[in-house]
Assembly symmetry: D2
Homo-oligomer: 337 residues x 4
């Protein structure tokens, strides 16, 4: 890292910073400019609390040279991580489609949807049993009853299950019924929950926070890996910007950026990114073309009866048509579905 000293820093303050760095195990290289002095410090900043330096008198700021994450970085592990769930491999040449309704509501409708998305080509079934909702008056999910329906659908269709966990106290029960634990956007920096899913051996679908930088997102992954679980699938689901034409703004650039910085697989969620089914087709294709390893798409047998996020849900027929169209795009970028 580089420590930039204030133009008013005294010689004594500069020496003091150097001494502190040396005492912390760094090698120092001061460069005396005409206005400011900067100190290069060689060593592993990641295991150090930079506050110890930032707060010293005369320090203007610190410029990190290395990334703050290590276990999630491609610098540490160059080969792509592939998450294997039985015969499904996420992060490999074959793209993985996850699909299903926002929330598990009605048993019959849910099973029908499950069968249809499977037939269309999905490998993993999504459906929320615990729903984080902006309004306390909105439907909050069927909780364990919903988990059981997911489990039944799994048995009936052979699809794997991904479902969200929103409370540290529920990790055990959700892990019992599902194949992938989803951490939603609003919980991306719920660090206790990250550690708790990090203590399981289940793959984790880690959604990007509404206003999380890519670096913060990878730091959230680092929390999970450092707790012992490196089976993480990142999911870009749109960030919050000033634009209101879509519910969020999908950050498609995040796909190649993450691929460069990290070895973890990344998928996209075009349904939450826009909030409107009309744009799901275009964004699904864009995400695949940009290099995503898969998609998670909301599909509902009858969106007009959905208790949650109906406007962004595709009908099964449209979804089946989309998967067909995606096959061509996947081939064009040397992938397959």
């Amino acid at each position: 890292m580089i420590i930039v000293m204030s133009p008013l820093a005294t010689k004594e303050q500069i020496n003091n910073v150097e001494e502190k760095l040396v005492s912390l195990g760094f090698k120092t290289h001061p460069i005396y400019g005409e206005v400011k002095t900067v100190i290069g410090a060689i060593g592993d900043k990641r295991l150090l609390d930079t506050q110890l330096i930032t707060n010293l008198p005369g320090v203007e700021n610190i410029v990190p040279i290395m990334k703050p994450y290590k276990l999630a970085s491609r610098e540490l592990k160059q080969a792509n991580t592939i998450i294997q769930i039985d015969d499904i491999r996420i992060g490999d040449d074959e793209l993985i489609i996850m699909a299903g309704p926002c929330a598990v509501e009605n048993e019959q409708v849910f099973y029908e949807t499950a069968h249809k998305v499977k037939k269309a080509g999905a490998k993993i079934l999504r459906g929320g049993a615990f729903k984080p909702r902006t309004s306390p008056y909105a439907f909050q999910g069927l909780e364990e009853e919903g988990l059981k329906m997911l489990h039944t659908a799994r048995a009936e269709t052979g699809l794997k299950i991904v479902t969200e966990v929103v409370d540290t106290r529920d990790v055990e029960v959700v892990a019992k019924y599902s194949d992938i634990l989803q951490i939603g956007a609003r919980n991306m920096q719920n660090f206790r929950l990250l550690r708790e899913v990090g203590a399981t051996n289940k793959p984790v679908l880690l959604k990007r926070g509404l206003s999380a930088t890519i670096e913060e997102w990878l730091m959230a992954a680092e929390y999970i890996i450092s707790a012992g679980n490196s089976n993480i699938i990142l999911c870009e689901r749109g960030i919050r910007t000033f634009e209101t034409a879509t519910r969020n703004t999908i950050d498609i650039s995040a796909i190649p950026v993450v691929k460069e910085l990290s070895h973890l697989p990344i998928i996209a969620d075009p349904s939450h990114a826009t909030g409107t089914w009309k744009y799901v087709n275009a964004l699904s294709k864009a995400a695949i073309a940009a290099g995503a390893d898969g998609l998670i798409i909301e599909v509902h047998n009858d969106p007009s009866k959905a208790l949650c996020d109906g406007p962004q849900s595709l009908k099964p027929e449209r979804f089946a048509q989309l998967v067909e169209e995606l096959k061509a795009v996947a081939l064009a970028v040397n992938r397959k579905i």
Copy 2:
């Protein structure tokens, strides 16, 4: 609410929407424009899941006319809510200053800081025992040991205590040791945690999320109130924008906006808003001038040794000077400290 129908909506679709609204207890008033039809619907939308309407064929979008929150709104309760903790009244004429270090670290340093902030005029002592940190490698707080130090400082100084809770499982223990439960910015939409603090009778300091709209923030308050606890103090602590000169951008307008929309008291956190002690003086004055009911300020006896957020901490002497200066600003807006 107003239902805007698509320009292509058929007469049958319009009738269908009207029938659905009527069946849900609304009175309907269609207006037939040249291009689009809109349907006015009279009734309480707040207890209705609008998805049931949005998803009907031919519906373009829904324009809410009433606010989505009710218990937190000034429409319901016109008088200011005042939170009373023994002889301290938050939301009344007297402004309340909360101060202390980011995290409780060292016993001796903490008690010294506590005595100094009390002497300077603070009424409430802050200090984190559970710290949500971006990096898994950063200091995460002393947990229950830290809570005990807070409790001792309370006994020694007579200051009330505010401290953060980050996990539903910790609400009980934090409530045992502190006077005010803080919900941090990253947990503003941790709905389970909101419900859990809503089930206690402790006042809650609800920080605004990094990218939460004022409406979402008041909805988070609605969660707590609807769970039974209406002792909520809102805290503006800066939002995320494109500007990088400060860590966050304090949204000073939020103060008069919240005062108009809600009966709840609102304070400001100039330390987290900027991330730099240099700007704390100016922002504290601005917040008071804009009508805030108080401030929460980071003060550390020796910021260069702080394990957390040192760069934004004031030394006790500067803090004491600031409180003196704030008294004049408070008087200028007919308040007192």
Copy 3:
């Protein structure tokens, strides 16, 4: 439009608003809710200054039902607009690639680059003669001398020319030398410049402003069309967000949204969107997959010698390779290059 009256509005104020609306040629339909009254007003709001209503006593706000643009909207003109420049058709099945250096600098290098991008498949040559630069000390372009080089390259290669105009006083000279007038992101709301290019008969490449909503962007197009020139090509080039991993955040959703709202063609600029050549490949594919009508890409014979935006420029070989790869993506979405 819908006029929402304040809960405190008097009967007289409501009548007053109705009378004003009627006097302005609207038909009114009041709906009396329990808390608020809303007034539906039928007529063409676009030709009215809504301030005349917003400012009336008792008015809380106005909800527009129709879009504020008309000439640029698909409601007015359902068929796609195709911009024809000799045998090039922008907005048709064939995708159009524009390529070339950020700025025209060195004659020889420029002509070489021009020949290479043509060979690779570009139809239009880009190159800046007037450069808007953040720093007054940075290279500002060769001005008319640069335009002449563009003109020569045009003659030598048969490529059409697109170049930026930054001052109302230069519109005439830029129109003389180029085929397409570019309005840069920073000038998207330079309304005088919009009107001036609207008074020419040259196609206009209208870049989206750094923080312009899609609606504001289409209003900028409306300025140009209402001044007489409907040959507009929209260009998504990234918006400003909190994310710093890329220079801007490309808003890929803008492509399907614009396609729905407007009849105008839209292309993408992956080079400015990210600021890094490494991500140009992925974003180019994403834009095509999402339905863009073309791309504008920075290509420089020797990026390390570019006086402007070198880091985002592709070398001609990489560009040629990219065009090959794009052909497959185009086919996958039933387009061609």
Copy 4:
């Protein structure tokens, strides 16, 4: 500046960068870390195009150590700049209030408003003759006729005049009639216009762009100063964020930040910042408390008849009341009105 080399950079590439830097007049100090090499370069980067370095093979990125502006910086000139217009001194102890309607519309109403704002304590009269409007169908200003009314109001009241210039071709005529040339938010990076006002000797009111960083804003000031005119008053008028409760989000922190970085005076525009007259009172006080050198406030004799921005205009009586209240706040921060 610090050049960070890629982990994969070869020894030869590192040498090559060093040689290039030396040839450009820099002294170099390489620091060889375990993973990456960084090169410290001493010299004045501001007069150099950093692209020449960024594009060299093996370079990962450049970290600037010095600010990119020089003439606008407090490093160059430590004393506050005071702009003198006859007996008015902007940037001195006395705060300066500018007030008046958004646009000059009706002669009689305008003169009445002018007299009233003068009586209330304003020193400078605002009023737009050239209006940049989002819609081509909205009132665009009275142009030279409006300038003449401003001039008459100046003669009648003794107030100085500030008015916006939106086109390089109008700078001469606007300078003829007004005392201060306003550059609006949408033109903050209209570099030609900046240079043109820089070539006059009139003070310039430089509004911050909707999504301009403080650094870009100071670079815009640098354009004007480097063209010969250092009489610049900066004006914070709100930035664009995701929050929709106010039209823009006033960045109050920008006031102390600018005071630290630059010697130029800074005022605030609470009317445009919020778009609602209700919040103007609170924000005016906040800006003064935070250290602003003055305010520019919209006042209209009859806001309900304003052709432009009526909802954010104060009536003269409210404005007079506000100025009285501001006097107390000014005193509390050792300033006066």
